[in-house]
């Protein structure tokens, strides 16, 4: 940020903590940005003429006579079509060696959409992954996170979903990404030849954690530009929201706020909701769909971060390693897409809901049979068949390396039913069985 003429420069800081500094200043607006010795900061508290600034990159080495300049505006980003294909840091500055982007300057973290102006989400997003398309269908305007342990390949799955999703723009918000993961995303997008529709805002582990707080707003303000003004289908990827929430707790701690559950700030729900609720289907076409990652600690979903997320998002996708087939699958029991009802059997084949339910129910029977086996009870013929079915179902439909059309997934489902069960065991409406049960 350049200083312009006639801007007042303050040089007397009265208090410095690890993330904030305070000084006496006048005419300062709330949430206004400033620079402190060139570092970007934002006003978080004003009391009389005493202004507290949160310095995004930390206060290391800031002297009491640092130069403080107020910019008279909230953080902004320049939006235009030139954003496409570019990589930026948390402040919206290019990190790919390219020139700064020209365009309309808009404040990030703008107002919410009037709920009566929203449209009901209605367009299916095909991903080719049966664990998603068949069991947990995604819809434009939806917000859904992957709940995954850090060792699971969530970034890979997310990149795959993004590339197959036929979105007009894909916006990646990387928070606390390892440099390796950043390069992974960069390479995979480049190799897919999709760079022209991808925009990335990246904060890696090498950058200060508090900077992350800007990433979702940068990504979503950009998304709003393309979705609302250009009527495009925009997919926003946010990884990893757990690290975002951790940054929130750092700031609230520095501001002497009383922590609530799991040392998280009391406003965690509102803070996360403000981000996720940007997912929307606009009335004039155009939509923002958010796919996020929330890493768990040991699969614990009662921790404040996944718990609050679950109350906000429209379902969640669980990854699990299935040792029977040696692959990662989308767990059909714990995953849920709340919006799938809006499209399955309507935009997909009529048998979709019933095939989905029957397949999962039989998979559950297999889980029971397995427990029985482990407890030393005898298995009957049905149990044996469900176990064989489960293995094949897991390999052919749940594994994340599947890439087929939804009709093919349904046909695979019918094939498995016919192979292991008789018609009365699958509990599907007679009319559908007559139509889709494999002939030979």
């Amino acid at each position: 940020m350049e200083t312009t003429a006639f801007q007042k420069i303050y040089t007397k800081i009265t208090q410095i903590t690890k993330a904030t500094c305070s000084l006496k200043a006048e005419g300062v607006g709330y949430e206004e940005i400033a620079t402190v010795n060139g570092r970007l900061a934002q006003v978080v508290k004003i009391q009389g003429d005493n202004v507290t600034l949160q310095i995004f990159s930390g206060t290391e080495g800031i002297p009491t006579n640092a130069e403080v300049v107020f910019m008279g505006k909230a953080p902004t980003i320049n939006v235009s079509d030139e954003l496409a294909g570019r990589f930026f840091n948390a402040y919206g500055d290019p990190i790919d060696g390219g020139p700064a982007v020209e365009g309309k300057e808009v404040e990030i973290g703008g107002p919410s959409v009037n709920p009566v102006r929203r449209k009901q989400p209605s367009e299916l997003i095909p991903t080719g992954i049966a664990g998603i398309d068949l069991n947990n269908t995604l819809v434009t305007g939806q917000k859904i996170p992957f709940f995954a342990d850090p060792d699971q390949p969530f970034n890979q799955v997310m990149a795959m979903v993004a590339l197959r999703a036929k979105a007009d723009k894909i916006i990646l918000g990387g928070m606390g990404l390892s440099n390796d993961d950043y390069l992974f995303f960069k390479n995979i997008f480049e190799n897919a030849g999709a760079l022209d529709r991808i925009i990335s805002f990246i904060n890696t582990t090498e950058n200060p954690p508090v900077e992350r707080l800007l990433i979702p707003d940068m990504a979503l303000t950009t998304a709003e530009y393309f979705a609302h003004e250009k009527h495009q289908k925009v997919l926003v990827l946010l990884t990893d929201m757990t690290l975002y929430a951790d940054a929130l707790s750092i700031v609230s701690n520095r501001m002497d706020q009383i922590p609530s559950k799991d040392s998280m700030p009391g406003s965690l729900y509102s803070d996360l909701a403000k981000i996720y609720e940007k997912a929307v289907q606009f009335p004039e076409g155009g939509s923002i769909t958010i796919i996020a990652v929330t890493t768990l600690s040991g699969g614990d979903i009662t921790h404040a971060i996944p718990d609050n997320t679950g109350y906000i998002t429209e379902g969640q996708l669980f990854l699990r390693r299935d040792t029977d087939i040696g692959k990662v699958i989308i767990d059909p029991f714990r995953s849920l897409s709340r919006l799938k009802q809006l499209v399955i059997g309507k935009q997909t084949r009529e048998d979709h809901p019933q095939v989905m339910n029957a397949a999962i129910r039989l998979f559950a029977d297999a889980a029971n049979a397995k427990t029985k086996l482990e407890n030393g009870f005898d298995l009957n013929d049905y149990d044996e068949r469900t176990l064989k079915y489960a293995k094949e179902y897991s390999r052919e439909l749940l594994a994340i390396d599947i890439n087929v059309e939804i009709d093919a997934m349904l046909d695979t489902g019918w094939g498995l039913f016919a192979k292991y069960f008789n018609k009365s065991e699958i509990g599907i409406k007679d009319a559908l069985v007559a139509k889709y049960w494999p002939k030979n």
Binding site: G29, Q47, S112, S260, S270, A273, Y311
Partner: protein, 585 residues
């Protein structure tokens, strides 16, 4: 003269204003920022400093900005035209707002000042009236909407004049009343009332003595909600809280439904916006939207207005109750409201209570719940507000402050159970943990005996015992194994399962099964209890499971069939035959 002030401090949406005159707690003030007035409420006063919570984003606000105190608390506007509207938490009409995005400081009229209403007088000249007395009525949609003496009027008045029957606008004077000192007051069709103060224009509030039918069997049969009663639904995410609340809002036997979406997902409200104008109200044959008003403060809207939204909903409910109507108020979710209180308490640096919630949280919650109730109005008519709130306990743990505080205030407890949800036993209300205190009320028992059947209450108690026993034996079977327990245990377990599958589980997406009237609930309960009372003859435990499974399957088909239709009776016949085959001689 109005009190003015200047902003001296800003911490997120807590703004400190130095006032130049008297200020009262909960007074509304407007803070001027770049030509836009931002509404705020005083929540603490220290010397001449008023701590206000701003109902909008405070981005860009500066110290030294002007503020004007309005000399009244947060108020809603009451009058004809509230029905079928979509409001935000501060009663702004969302449909009147321009643009796709909400604009800060845009406040819209909740009523339509241009609309004309056909007025019919009820009171006549010389009548003695008081606050809440019916002066006349207009037809709002399909509902007679009473025009009342404003609730703010104290003492008794005499009607000096009342307009002739005819067409009037909401701001037109329709009557003049005179107080005991001979002073005249003009009355229009609209009035204002502060949301945090209960409207007490009624004679008495008896204990609830009637049941409100919801069509949801596990509620109506096992743990009924009383008309004028209170209940709450806690449950982890993904257990079907919202589906259940939507089902109740569609089917409940009420004249008016107020849905308060408090800090929840916007797409869920959009679902109501999209579907309610299309769905038929089974009781009136009209569209559901015609008896519904939505107060909507979704999770991304300003936090302070979230707190206001539940009070706005309750005040509108009280207004319609004073007209002698049966109102059902739903709030999803009260936890978000409590969290809004926590955020403010935190910013004011109050000493925190458990989980950083304010110390007076239990008092605030019980105060709010106490505003519901069945009332006798001053003219002898009756009205009621039945309140059903959801709670979103952190981590699904019911031992957290909001659930515990609500448990003390609400009389019905519908615990959603994760295990039931996982095994797709919907609605996932736990039949063992849930309760309705109303079942213990002698007046409710009397009512149930008179309206449903003399043995109804005993049957319900029996069904609950069977379910509890079923749970106990199922634990035994799990520990000892199928062949480690007597056959009798399997029979007991499956008899409880019959009740679970046939009465408790209900398909919210099936056009017939989704709503069951009491008559049918009674019939079905009797059927499953008959099975319980029958002695069966099983040679081994392996015969028990298939027999009951086939009975349950036929019962389920029955639930999907029209009551007492040929199909329905056919299934009944099939069940009787199956039972006779297995009956012990």
């Amino acid at each position: 003269m109005a009190t003015n002030g200047k902003v001296t401090g800003i911490i997120a949406n807590l703004v400190i204003v130095e006032a130049d005159g008297p200020v009262s707690q909960n007074e509304i003030c407007f803070i001027r920022h770049k030509g836009v007035d931002l509404m705020a409420e005083v929540i603490k006063i220290l010397g001449n400093k008023a701590y206000t919570q701003v109902f909008e984003s405070t981005r860009g606000l500066k110290v030294g900005s002007d503020a004007v105190f309005m000399n009244h608390m947060l108020e809603v506007t009451l009058g004809p035209g509230i029905l079928s509207r979509n409001y935000d938490g501060l009663q702004n009409d969302l449909d009147k707002m321009k643009g796709v995005f909400l604009k800060r400081g845009e406040y819209t009229d909740p009523l339509n000042p241009e609309a004309e209403w056909v007025f019919t007088a009820i009171a006549k000249q010389g009548d003695k009236v008081e606050a809440g007395s019916w002066l006349g009525e207009v037809i709002e949609g399909w509902m007679p909407h009473k025009i009342m003496v404003p609730f703010k009027f104290e003492g008794f008045y005499t009607v000096k004049s009342i307009v002739k029957n005819g067409t009037y606008k909401t701001k037109d004077v329709i009557a003049v009343v005179t107080d005991s000192k001979g002073k005249d007051f003009e009355v229009t069709m609209t009035q204002k009332w502060p949301v945090k103060v209960p409207i007490r224009a009624y004679k008495e509030k008896p204990r609830p003595f009637k049941i409100m039918e919801t069509g949801v069997r596990t509620m109506d049969t096992l743990n009924p909600l009383a008309e004028g009663g209170t209940g709450f639904i806690p449950g982890p995410f993904g257990c079907g809280k919202t589906v259940l609340q939507h089902a109740v809002s569609q089917q409940a036997e009420a004249d008016m439904i107020i849905v308060t979406a408090c800090g929840e997902r916007a797409n869920e409200v959009v679902e109501i916006f999209t579907e309610f104008p299309e769905l038929d109200d089974p009781r009136t044959g009209r569209k559901l939207m015609e008896r519904t008003t939505i107060i909507c403060n979704t999770s991304n809207m300003p936090v302070a207005a979230r707190e206001a939204s539940v009070y706005t909903g309750m005040t509108i409910a009280e207004y319609y109750r004073s007209m002698g109507l049966k109102v059902l108020l739903l709030a999803d979710s009260t936890s978000r409201w409590a969290q809004a209180l926590r955020e403010m308490s935190n910013r004011m640096e109050e000493l925190p209570g458990p989980d950083a919630f304010p110390m007076d949280l239990p008092a605030i919650i019980s105060n709010f719940y106490s505003r519901a109730g069945f009332v006798y109005l001053n003219n002898g008519q009756t009205g009621s507000i039945t309140f059903l709130g959801t709670v979103s306990p952190a981590g699904g743990n019911l031992k957290e402050p909001v659930t515990e505080s609500t448990k003390k205030a609400a009389r019905c407890f519908y615990a959603l159970n994760q295990e039931r949800a996982d095994s797709k036993r919907y609605p996932a209300i736990d039949p063992i943990d849930s309760y309705s205190k109303y079942l213990e009320y002698p007046e409710i028992q009397e009512y149930l005996k008179n309206t449903i059947g003399a043995d109804w209450v005993d049957n319900v108690t029996l069904a609950k015992d069977i379910l509890l026993r079923g749970k106990e034996v199922s634990e035994q079977i799990n520990i000892l194994g199928d062949d480690g327990v007597p056959i009798d245990y399997h029979e007991k377990y499956w008899k409880a399962e019959v009740i679970d599958f046939v009465v408790l589980q209900q398909d919210a997406f099936d056009s017939i099964d989704k709503s069951t009237p009491f008559e049918r609930q009674k019939f079905m309960l009797e059927q499953v209890l008959d099975i319980y009372k029958t002695d069966f003859d099983f040679k081994s435990f392996e015969e028990v499971n298939p027999f009951f499974k086939s009975i349950i399957n036929t019962f389920k088909q029955m639930n999907y069939a029209e009551f007492k239709s040929e199909k329905f009776n056919g299934y009944l016949e099939q069940i009787k035959n199956k039972i006779n085959e297995r009956k012990a001689v």
